[in-house]
Protein backbone atom coordinates (compact mmCIF):
# COMPACT_ATOMS: atom_id res chain seq x y z
CA UNK A 1 0.00 0.00 0.00
CA UNK A 2 1.46 3.33 -1.03
CA UNK A 3 -0.67 5.85 0.88
CA UNK A 4 -3.01 4.97 3.68
CA UNK A 5 -5.49 7.32 5.27
CA UNK A 6 -6.53 6.09 8.70
CA UNK A 7 -9.45 7.52 10.71
CA UNK A 8 -8.68 10.99 9.40
CA UNK A 9 -10.83 13.79 10.82
CA UNK A 10 -10.83 17.55 10.70
CA UNK A 11 -12.92 19.82 12.86
CA UNK A 12 -12.93 23.59 12.19
CA UNK A 13 -14.16 25.19 15.41
CA UNK A 14 -17.22 23.02 15.89
CA UNK A 15 -17.77 22.17 12.23
CA UNK A 16 -16.88 18.60 11.32
CA UNK A 17 -15.37 18.88 7.82
CA UNK A 18 -13.91 15.39 7.56
CA UNK A 19 -15.18 12.54 9.71
CA UNK A 20 -12.95 9.53 10.35
CA UNK A 21 -12.29 8.61 6.76
CA UNK A 22 -10.29 5.57 5.73
CA UNK A 23 -8.96 4.79 2.29
CA UNK A 24 -5.77 3.88 0.57
CA UNK A 25 -4.04 4.62 -2.70
CA UNK A 26 -2.20 1.88 -4.56
CA UNK A 27 0.98 2.84 -6.34
CA UNK A 28 0.47 4.12 -9.89
CA UNK A 29 -3.30 4.02 -9.67
CA UNK A 30 -5.76 6.86 -10.08
CA UNK A 31 -8.43 7.36 -7.48
CA UNK A 32 -11.36 9.69 -7.95
CA UNK A 33 -12.57 11.68 -4.97
CA UNK A 34 -16.20 12.58 -5.57
CA UNK A 35 -18.86 14.34 -3.63
CA UNK A 36 -21.03 17.43 -3.53
CA UNK A 37 -19.55 20.84 -2.75
CA UNK A 38 -18.48 21.17 0.87
CA UNK A 39 -18.25 17.42 1.43
CA UNK A 40 -14.62 17.57 2.61
CA UNK A 41 -12.65 16.85 -0.60
CA UNK A 42 -10.51 19.99 -0.46
CA UNK A 43 -9.86 19.57 3.26
CA UNK A 44 -8.79 15.97 2.64
CA UNK A 45 -6.42 17.10 -0.12
CA UNK A 46 -5.18 19.92 2.14
CA UNK A 47 -4.35 17.42 4.88
CA UNK A 48 -2.50 15.19 2.41
CA UNK A 49 -0.46 18.18 1.25
CA UNK A 50 0.37 19.20 4.80
CA UNK A 51 -1.56 22.47 4.49
CA UNK A 52 -4.12 21.46 7.09
CA UNK A 53 -3.37 19.76 10.41
CA UNK A 54 -5.74 16.84 10.98
CA UNK A 55 -7.74 16.90 14.21
CA UNK A 56 -7.22 13.16 14.52
CA UNK A 57 -6.14 10.14 12.50
CA UNK A 58 -3.07 9.73 10.35
CA UNK A 59 -1.72 9.73 6.84
CA UNK A 60 0.82 7.02 6.12
CA UNK A 61 3.16 7.10 3.15
CA UNK A 62 4.76 3.69 2.65
CA UNK A 63 3.76 2.89 6.26
CA UNK A 64 5.47 6.00 7.60
CA UNK A 65 3.50 8.81 9.18
CA UNK A 66 3.43 11.97 7.05
CA UNK A 67 4.55 14.02 10.07
CA UNK A 68 7.73 11.99 10.45
CA UNK A 69 9.00 13.25 7.10
CA UNK A 70 10.74 16.60 6.77
CA UNK A 71 8.60 19.20 4.98
CA UNK A 72 10.90 19.44 1.97
CA UNK A 73 11.63 15.72 1.97
CA UNK A 74 7.99 14.72 1.46
CA UNK A 75 6.72 17.66 -0.58
CA UNK A 76 9.23 17.08 -3.37
CA UNK A 77 7.44 13.77 -3.99
CA UNK A 78 4.04 15.51 -4.27
CA UNK A 79 2.52 18.09 -6.50
CA UNK A 80 -0.86 19.67 -6.95
CA UNK A 81 -2.90 21.53 -9.53
CA UNK A 82 -6.21 23.31 -9.22
CA UNK A 83 -7.86 26.05 -11.26
CA UNK A 84 -8.60 27.78 -7.94
CA UNK A 85 -4.92 28.14 -7.14
CA UNK A 86 -2.99 30.35 -9.52
CA UNK A 87 0.59 31.10 -10.39
CA UNK A 88 1.95 34.63 -10.02
CA UNK A 89 -0.01 36.58 -12.64
CA UNK A 90 2.65 39.20 -13.40
CA UNK A 91 5.32 36.64 -14.22
CA UNK A 92 5.65 35.04 -17.62
CA UNK A 93 4.95 31.35 -18.08
CA UNK A 94 8.69 30.70 -18.49
CA UNK A 95 9.55 32.62 -15.32
CA UNK A 96 6.93 30.74 -13.30
CA UNK A 97 8.14 27.35 -14.49
CA UNK A 98 11.74 28.35 -13.83
CA UNK A 99 10.96 29.43 -10.27
CA UNK A 100 8.95 26.33 -9.43
CA UNK A 101 11.57 24.13 -11.10
CA UNK A 102 14.19 25.69 -8.83
CA UNK A 103 11.98 25.35 -5.75
CA UNK A 104 11.54 21.65 -6.52
CA UNK A 105 15.29 21.31 -7.08
CA UNK A 106 15.01 20.04 -10.66
CA UNK A 107 18.28 19.11 -12.29
CA UNK A 108 18.68 20.10 -15.92
CA UNK A 109 15.75 22.45 -15.53
CA UNK A 110 15.91 23.90 -19.04
CA UNK A 111 15.48 20.45 -20.54
CA UNK A 112 12.59 19.61 -18.22
CA UNK A 113 10.80 22.90 -18.95
CA UNK A 114 11.32 22.36 -22.66
CA UNK A 115 9.98 18.81 -22.46
CA UNK A 116 6.86 19.66 -20.52
CA UNK A 117 6.16 22.81 -22.54
CA UNK A 118 6.23 20.86 -25.76
CA UNK A 119 4.01 18.12 -24.34
CA UNK A 120 1.41 20.56 -23.04
CA UNK A 121 1.71 22.90 -26.04
CA UNK A 122 2.41 25.99 -23.97
CA UNK A 123 5.48 27.13 -25.91
CA UNK A 124 3.44 29.58 -28.03
CA UNK A 125 2.60 31.73 -24.98
CA UNK A 126 5.80 31.05 -23.09
CA UNK A 127 6.81 34.71 -22.80
CA UNK A 128 3.34 36.01 -21.98
CA UNK A 129 2.35 36.96 -18.45
CA UNK A 130 0.35 34.18 -16.79
CA UNK A 131 -2.41 36.61 -15.79
CA UNK A 132 -3.04 37.45 -19.45
CA UNK A 133 -3.79 33.86 -20.46
CA UNK A 134 -7.18 32.27 -21.10
CA UNK A 135 -8.57 29.73 -18.59
CA UNK A 136 -7.53 26.84 -20.82
CA UNK A 137 -4.01 28.16 -21.18
CA UNK A 138 -3.75 28.82 -17.44
CA UNK A 139 -4.89 25.28 -16.65
CA UNK A 140 -2.22 23.86 -18.95
CA UNK A 141 0.45 26.00 -17.30
CA UNK A 142 -0.80 24.96 -13.87
CA UNK A 143 -0.63 21.32 -14.95
CA UNK A 144 2.90 21.88 -16.27
CA UNK A 145 3.91 23.30 -12.89
CA UNK A 146 2.35 20.30 -11.14
CA UNK A 147 4.34 17.88 -13.28
CA UNK A 148 7.63 19.76 -13.27
CA UNK A 149 9.10 17.54 -10.55
CA UNK A 150 7.68 14.31 -12.03
CA UNK A 151 5.74 13.75 -8.79
CA UNK A 152 5.14 10.30 -7.38
CA UNK A 153 1.84 11.56 -5.98
CA UNK A 154 -0.23 14.01 -7.99
CA UNK A 155 -3.28 15.66 -6.49
CA UNK A 156 -5.65 17.24 -8.98
CA UNK A 157 -8.58 19.34 -7.86
CA UNK A 158 -11.05 19.73 -10.73
CA UNK A 159 -8.32 20.10 -13.36
CA UNK A 160 -10.80 20.73 -16.17
CA UNK A 161 -13.33 22.92 -14.35
CA UNK A 162 -14.75 25.70 -16.52
CA UNK A 163 -12.90 24.59 -19.65
CA UNK A 164 -14.45 24.17 -23.07
CA UNK A 165 -14.87 20.52 -24.18
CA UNK A 166 -11.90 20.69 -26.55
CA UNK A 167 -9.38 21.90 -23.97
CA UNK A 168 -10.95 19.66 -21.32
CA UNK A 169 -10.43 16.68 -23.58
CA UNK A 170 -6.86 17.76 -24.33
CA UNK A 171 -6.04 17.83 -20.61
CA UNK A 172 -7.73 14.50 -19.91
CA UNK A 173 -5.91 12.89 -22.82
CA UNK A 174 -2.64 14.35 -21.64
CA UNK A 175 -3.13 13.02 -18.09
CA UNK A 176 -3.93 9.60 -19.54
CA UNK A 177 -0.87 9.67 -21.75
CA UNK A 178 1.36 10.98 -18.97
CA UNK A 179 0.17 8.17 -16.69
CA UNK A 180 0.94 5.54 -19.29
CA UNK A 181 4.52 6.78 -19.59
CA UNK A 182 5.29 7.70 -15.96
CA UNK A 183 4.93 6.14 -12.56
CA UNK A 184 2.50 8.36 -10.73
CA UNK A 185 -0.28 7.88 -8.22
CA UNK A 186 -3.12 10.31 -8.80
CA UNK A 187 -5.91 11.52 -6.54
CA UNK A 188 -8.45 13.31 -8.69
CA UNK A 189 -11.23 15.44 -7.22
CA UNK A 190 -13.78 16.17 -9.90
CA UNK A 191 -17.40 16.89 -10.63
CA UNK A 192 -17.08 15.72 -14.20
CA UNK A 193 -18.29 12.13 -14.24
CA UNK A 194 -17.06 11.40 -17.76
CA UNK A 195 -13.63 12.51 -16.68
CA UNK A 196 -13.75 10.28 -13.62
CA UNK A 197 -14.91 7.27 -15.65
CA UNK A 198 -12.17 7.87 -18.18
CA UNK A 199 -9.26 8.45 -15.78
CA UNK A 200 -9.95 6.67 -12.51
CA UNK A 201 -9.26 3.08 -11.52
CA UNK A 202 -11.53 3.42 -8.52
CA UNK A 203 -13.70 5.98 -6.76
CA UNK A 204 -14.31 7.26 -3.27
CA UNK A 205 -17.66 8.95 -2.68
CA UNK A 206 -17.88 11.52 0.10
CA UNK A 207 -20.80 13.30 1.67
CA UNK A 208 -20.78 15.60 4.70
CA UNK A 209 -17.23 14.68 5.57
CA UNK A 210 -17.76 10.94 5.42
CA UNK A 211 -16.94 8.30 2.85
CA UNK A 212 -20.28 6.83 1.89
CA UNK A 213 -19.10 4.34 -0.71
CA UNK A 214 -16.12 3.24 -2.74
CA UNK A 215 -15.28 0.91 -5.57
CA UNK A 216 -14.64 0.87 -9.30
CA UNK A 217 -16.95 2.88 -11.57
CA UNK A 218 -18.65 -0.22 -12.95
CA UNK A 219 -19.07 -1.78 -9.51
CA UNK A 220 -20.73 1.31 -8.14
CA UNK A 221 -23.02 1.76 -11.14
CA UNK A 222 -24.05 -1.88 -10.89
CA UNK A 223 -24.39 -1.87 -7.13
CA UNK A 224 -26.73 1.10 -7.15
CA UNK A 225 -28.66 -0.06 -10.22
CA UNK A 226 -28.02 3.02 -12.30
CA UNK A 227 -27.12 3.51 -15.95
CA UNK A 228 -24.03 5.65 -15.52
CA UNK A 229 -21.78 7.32 -12.97
CA UNK A 230 -23.66 10.60 -13.09
CA UNK A 231 -26.89 8.92 -12.00
CA UNK A 232 -25.00 6.97 -9.36
CA UNK A 233 -23.44 10.18 -8.05
CA UNK A 234 -26.85 11.84 -7.81
CA UNK A 235 -28.31 8.89 -5.96
CA UNK A 236 -25.46 8.81 -3.46
CA UNK A 237 -25.30 12.57 -3.01
CA UNK A 238 -29.03 12.86 -2.35
CA UNK A 239 -29.45 9.72 -0.27
CA UNK A 240 -29.25 9.84 3.52
CA UNK A 241 -27.95 6.30 3.80
CA UNK A 242 -24.40 5.02 4.05
CA UNK A 243 -23.56 2.14 1.74
Amino acid sequence: MFIEIKNLSKIYNKYLAVDKINFHLEKNKTIGLLGPNGCGKTTTIGMMLGLVTPSSGEILIENKNLNSFGRDEILKRFNFASPYVELPKKLTVRQNLEIYGRLYGIKDLKKRINEISNDLEIKEFFERKTGELSSGQKNRVSLAKSLINKPEILLLDEPTASLDPDIGDFIRSYIQEYKSKNKVTVLLASHNMNEVERLCDSIIMMRRGKIIDKGTCNNLIEKHGRNNLEETFLKLARSKDEF
Binding site: T42, V52, T53, F80, Y84, P88, L103, Y104, G105
Partner: protein
Protein backbone atom coordinates in the same frame (compact mmCIF):
# COMPACT_ATOMS: atom_id res chain seq x y z
CA UNK B 1 19.18 26.00 4.29
CA UNK B 2 19.05 25.43 0.54
CA UNK B 3 20.34 28.57 -1.14
CA UNK B 4 19.03 27.57 -4.54
CA UNK B 5 15.49 27.63 -3.13
CA UNK B 6 16.09 30.91 -1.34
CA UNK B 7 17.43 32.28 -4.64
CA UNK B 8 14.35 30.93 -6.50
CA UNK B 9 11.96 32.72 -4.19
CA UNK B 10 14.02 35.88 -4.36
CA UNK B 11 14.03 35.62 -8.14
CA UNK B 12 10.23 35.42 -8.15
CA UNK B 13 10.09 38.86 -6.51
CA UNK B 14 12.86 40.33 -8.62
CA UNK B 15 11.09 39.20 -11.82
CA UNK B 16 7.97 40.88 -10.50
CA UNK B 17 9.80 44.19 -10.14
CA UNK B 18 11.74 43.82 -13.40
CA UNK B 19 8.59 42.97 -15.39
CA UNK B 20 6.91 46.22 -14.45
CA UNK B 21 8.30 49.73 -14.89
CA UNK B 22 5.48 51.28 -12.76
CA UNK B 23 6.59 49.03 -9.89
CA UNK B 24 10.16 50.32 -10.11
CA UNK B 25 8.82 53.85 -10.29
CA UNK B 26 6.64 53.23 -7.25
CA UNK B 27 9.64 51.91 -5.31
CA UNK B 28 11.66 55.04 -6.09
CA UNK B 29 8.89 57.63 -5.93
CA UNK B 30 7.97 57.59 -2.21
CA UNK B 31 11.50 57.70 -0.75
CA UNK B 32 12.34 60.54 -3.15
CA UNK B 33 9.28 62.55 -2.09
CA UNK B 34 10.24 61.95 1.55
CA UNK B 35 13.76 63.17 0.95
CA UNK B 36 12.52 66.33 -0.78
CA UNK B 37 10.02 67.08 1.99
CA UNK B 38 12.41 66.48 4.87
CA UNK B 39 15.23 68.12 2.96
CA UNK B 40 13.38 71.43 2.88
CA UNK B 41 12.20 71.09 6.49
CA UNK B 42 15.75 70.26 7.49
CA UNK B 43 17.08 73.28 5.63
CA UNK B 44 14.59 75.54 7.39
CA UNK B 45 15.46 74.16 10.86
CA UNK B 46 19.16 74.41 10.18
CA UNK B 47 18.78 78.09 9.45
CA UNK B 48 16.38 78.86 12.28
CA UNK B 49 17.15 76.53 15.18
CA UNK B 50 19.89 76.74 17.77
CA UNK B 51 19.75 73.04 18.48
CA UNK B 52 20.41 72.15 14.89
CA UNK B 53 22.85 75.01 14.31
CA UNK B 54 25.94 73.87 12.39
CA UNK B 55 24.57 70.33 12.18
CA UNK B 56 23.38 70.35 8.63
CA UNK B 57 21.38 67.29 7.75
CA UNK B 58 20.49 65.82 11.14
CA UNK B 59 16.79 65.73 10.33
CA UNK B 60 17.34 64.66 6.76
CA UNK B 61 19.68 61.86 7.86
CA UNK B 62 17.04 60.78 10.38
CA UNK B 63 14.44 60.83 7.61
CA UNK B 64 16.65 58.69 5.38
CA UNK B 65 17.32 56.14 8.13
CA UNK B 66 13.66 56.04 9.08
CA UNK B 67 12.72 55.52 5.45
CA UNK B 68 15.21 52.65 5.29
CA UNK B 69 13.42 51.03 8.23
CA UNK B 70 10.02 51.72 6.70
CA UNK B 71 10.99 50.34 3.26
CA UNK B 72 12.54 47.20 4.77
CA UNK B 73 9.38 46.42 6.69
CA UNK B 74 7.01 47.29 3.87
CA UNK B 75 9.08 45.32 1.34
CA UNK B 76 8.83 42.23 3.52
CA UNK B 77 5.07 42.69 3.92
CA UNK B 78 4.54 43.47 0.24
CA UNK B 79 6.28 40.33 -0.94
CA UNK B 80 4.09 38.24 1.32
CA UNK B 81 0.97 40.11 0.24
CA UNK B 82 1.93 39.55 -3.41
CA UNK B 83 1.56 35.80 -2.81
CA UNK B 84 -1.91 36.36 -1.40
CA UNK B 85 -3.00 38.78 -4.12
CA UNK B 86 -1.81 36.46 -6.88
CA UNK B 87 -3.53 33.46 -5.22
CA UNK B 88 -0.19 31.69 -5.27
CA UNK B 89 -0.23 30.97 -1.56
CA UNK B 90 -1.09 27.27 -1.81
CA UNK B 91 1.52 26.65 -4.51
CA UNK B 92 4.18 28.28 -2.34
CA UNK B 93 3.31 26.36 0.80
CA UNK B 94 3.16 22.97 -0.94
CA UNK B 95 6.57 23.52 -2.54
CA UNK B 96 9.41 21.66 -0.83
CA UNK B 97 10.77 24.75 0.85
CA UNK B 98 11.31 25.05 4.57
CA UNK B 99 9.61 27.85 6.49
CA UNK B 100 13.00 29.22 7.54
CA UNK B 101 13.97 29.32 3.85
CA UNK B 102 10.84 31.37 3.09
CA UNK B 103 11.77 33.78 5.90
CA UNK B 104 15.38 33.95 4.66
CA UNK B 105 14.28 34.58 1.07
CA UNK B 106 11.90 37.37 2.05
CA UNK B 107 14.52 38.91 4.37
CA UNK B 108 17.24 38.87 1.74
CA UNK B 109 15.01 40.07 -1.09
CA UNK B 110 13.57 42.89 1.02
CA UNK B 111 17.02 44.52 1.16
CA UNK B 112 17.15 44.65 -2.66
CA UNK B 113 13.69 46.23 -2.89
CA UNK B 114 14.63 48.67 -0.14
CA UNK B 115 17.85 49.71 -1.85
CA UNK B 116 16.17 50.10 -5.26
CA UNK B 117 13.93 52.68 -3.65
CA UNK B 118 16.33 54.40 -1.32
CA UNK B 119 19.65 54.65 -3.16
CA UNK B 120 18.41 57.12 -5.82
CA UNK B 121 16.82 59.27 -3.09
CA UNK B 122 20.04 59.23 -1.03
CA UNK B 123 22.07 60.22 -4.08
CA UNK B 124 19.68 63.08 -4.87
CA UNK B 125 20.11 64.45 -1.32
CA UNK B 126 23.86 64.99 -1.81
CA UNK B 127 23.81 67.73 -4.48
CA UNK B 128 20.39 69.09 -3.56
CA UNK B 129 20.79 69.54 0.20
CA UNK B 130 24.49 68.84 0.68
CA UNK B 131 23.63 65.95 2.97
CA UNK B 132 25.07 62.48 2.77
CA UNK B 133 24.34 59.65 5.19
CA UNK B 134 27.92 58.58 4.57
CA UNK B 135 28.91 61.36 6.99
CA UNK B 136 27.99 58.89 9.72
CA UNK B 137 31.05 56.90 8.73
CA UNK B 138 31.59 53.26 9.68
CA UNK B 139 28.87 53.25 12.39
CA UNK B 140 26.33 53.74 9.57
CA UNK B 141 26.68 50.06 8.69
CA UNK B 142 25.82 49.00 12.24
CA UNK B 143 22.94 51.46 12.49
CA UNK B 144 21.53 50.07 9.23
CA UNK B 145 21.89 46.49 10.50
CA UNK B 146 19.91 47.38 13.62
CA UNK B 147 17.24 49.17 11.60
CA UNK B 148 16.99 46.40 9.04
CA UNK B 149 16.58 43.69 11.64
CA UNK B 150 13.86 45.68 13.37
CA UNK B 151 12.15 46.46 10.05
CA UNK B 152 12.12 42.78 9.15
CA UNK B 153 10.80 41.96 12.62
CA UNK B 154 7.84 44.27 12.06
CA UNK B 155 7.38 42.59 8.67
CA UNK B 156 7.39 39.18 10.35
CA UNK B 157 4.81 40.28 12.91
CA UNK B 158 2.52 41.72 10.24
CA UNK B 159 2.82 38.63 8.02
CA UNK B 160 2.07 36.51 11.08
CA UNK B 161 -1.12 38.54 11.41
CA UNK B 162 -1.87 37.89 7.73
CA UNK B 163 -1.44 34.16 8.33
CA UNK B 164 -3.65 34.35 11.41
CA UNK B 165 -6.40 36.69 10.21
CA UNK B 166 -6.08 36.52 6.43
CA UNK B 167 -5.96 39.41 3.94
CA UNK B 168 -8.16 41.59 6.17
CA UNK B 169 -5.04 42.19 8.26
CA UNK B 170 -3.55 44.03 5.27
CA UNK B 171 -4.36 47.51 6.63
CA UNK B 172 -2.28 46.81 9.73
CA UNK B 173 0.67 46.21 7.40
CA UNK B 174 0.53 49.84 6.34
CA UNK B 175 -0.16 51.22 9.79
CA UNK B 176 2.38 49.18 11.78
CA UNK B 177 5.32 51.55 11.47
CA UNK B 178 3.39 54.74 12.05
CA UNK B 179 2.27 53.25 15.35
CA UNK B 180 5.85 52.94 16.61
CA UNK B 181 7.27 56.11 15.04
CA UNK B 182 6.35 58.49 17.91
CA UNK B 183 8.17 56.22 20.37
CA UNK B 184 11.16 55.80 18.09
CA UNK B 185 12.40 59.37 18.78
CA UNK B 186 13.38 59.67 15.15
CA UNK B 187 13.39 63.46 14.88
CA UNK B 188 13.67 64.51 18.54
CA UNK B 189 15.63 63.45 21.63
CA UNK B 190 14.08 60.97 24.06
CA UNK B 191 13.83 63.68 26.77
CA UNK B 192 10.84 65.12 24.92
CA UNK B 193 8.75 62.07 25.81
CA UNK B 194 6.91 61.88 29.16
CA UNK B 195 8.76 59.72 31.73
CA UNK B 196 6.53 56.66 31.40
CA UNK B 197 6.84 56.69 27.61
CA UNK B 198 10.62 57.00 27.89
CA UNK B 199 10.69 53.66 29.71
CA UNK B 200 8.73 52.00 26.89
CA UNK B 201 10.77 53.77 24.20
CA UNK B 202 14.03 52.49 25.66
CA UNK B 203 12.75 48.98 25.05
CA UNK B 204 12.81 49.71 21.31
CA UNK B 205 16.03 49.69 19.29
CA UNK B 206 14.93 52.81 17.40
CA UNK B 207 15.59 55.19 20.27
CA UNK B 208 19.17 53.97 20.66
CA UNK B 209 19.79 54.07 16.91
CA UNK B 210 18.47 57.59 16.40
CA UNK B 211 20.03 58.94 19.61
CA UNK B 212 23.37 57.58 18.43
CA UNK B 213 22.88 59.05 14.98
CA UNK B 214 22.36 62.47 16.56
CA UNK B 215 25.33 61.93 18.85
CA UNK B 216 27.58 61.20 15.87
CA UNK B 217 26.37 64.16 13.81
CA UNK B 218 26.12 66.73 16.61
CA UNK B 219 28.93 65.73 18.99
CA UNK B 220 31.24 64.09 16.47
CA UNK B 221 31.73 61.09 18.74
CA UNK B 222 30.69 57.47 18.52
CA UNK B 223 29.37 55.42 21.42
CA UNK B 224 29.73 51.83 20.23
CA UNK B 225 28.06 50.53 23.38
CA UNK B 226 24.85 52.26 22.29
CA UNK B 227 25.15 50.76 18.82
CA UNK B 228 25.79 47.31 20.27
CA UNK B 229 22.76 47.75 22.55
CA UNK B 230 20.51 48.72 19.62
CA UNK B 231 21.61 45.72 17.54
CA UNK B 232 21.19 43.38 20.52
CA UNK B 233 17.64 44.62 21.14
CA UNK B 234 16.89 44.24 17.40
CA UNK B 235 18.18 40.65 17.45
CA UNK B 236 15.94 39.82 20.42
CA UNK B 237 12.91 41.28 18.61
CA UNK B 238 13.88 39.45 15.43
CA UNK B 239 13.99 36.09 17.25
CA UNK B 240 10.63 36.94 18.81
CA UNK B 241 9.26 37.77 15.31
CA UNK B 242 10.45 34.43 13.92
CA UNK B 243 8.83 32.54 16.81
CA UNK B 244 5.54 34.40 16.31
CA UNK B 245 5.69 33.64 12.56
CA UNK B 246 6.12 29.90 13.24
CA UNK B 247 3.24 29.96 15.74
CA UNK B 248 1.03 31.68 13.17
CA UNK B 249 2.03 29.18 10.49
CA UNK B 250 1.11 26.21 12.67
CA UNK B 251 -2.05 28.02 13.75
CA UNK B 252 -2.98 28.63 10.10
CA UNK B 253 -2.50 24.92 9.37
CA UNK B 254 -4.85 24.10 12.23
CA UNK B 255 -7.48 26.55 11.01
CA UNK B 256 -7.01 25.56 7.38
CA UNK B 257 -6.40 29.13 6.23
CA UNK B 258 -3.44 28.16 4.05
CA UNK B 259 -5.89 26.72 1.51
CA UNK B 260 -7.63 29.19 -0.72
CA UNK B 261 -6.09 32.27 0.85
CA UNK B 262 -6.62 34.97 -1.69
CA UNK B 263 -8.08 38.37 -2.28
Amino acid sequence: MNFNKIYALGLRHLYLVMNSFPRVLDLIYWPTVQIFLWGFISKFFTLNSEYYNNTVGVILTAAILYDFLFRASISFNMMFLEEIWSRNFTNLFIAPIKIREIIAALTLTAIIRTLIGLVPAVIIAIPLFGVSVLHLGLPLIFLLIGLYLFGITLGLLVTSGLLRYGPSFENIAWASLFFLAPLGCIYYPIDILPDFLQIIAKGLPLVHIFEEMRNILINNSVNYFNIFKSISISVVYFIFGVIVFYFSYFGAKKRGTLINMGE
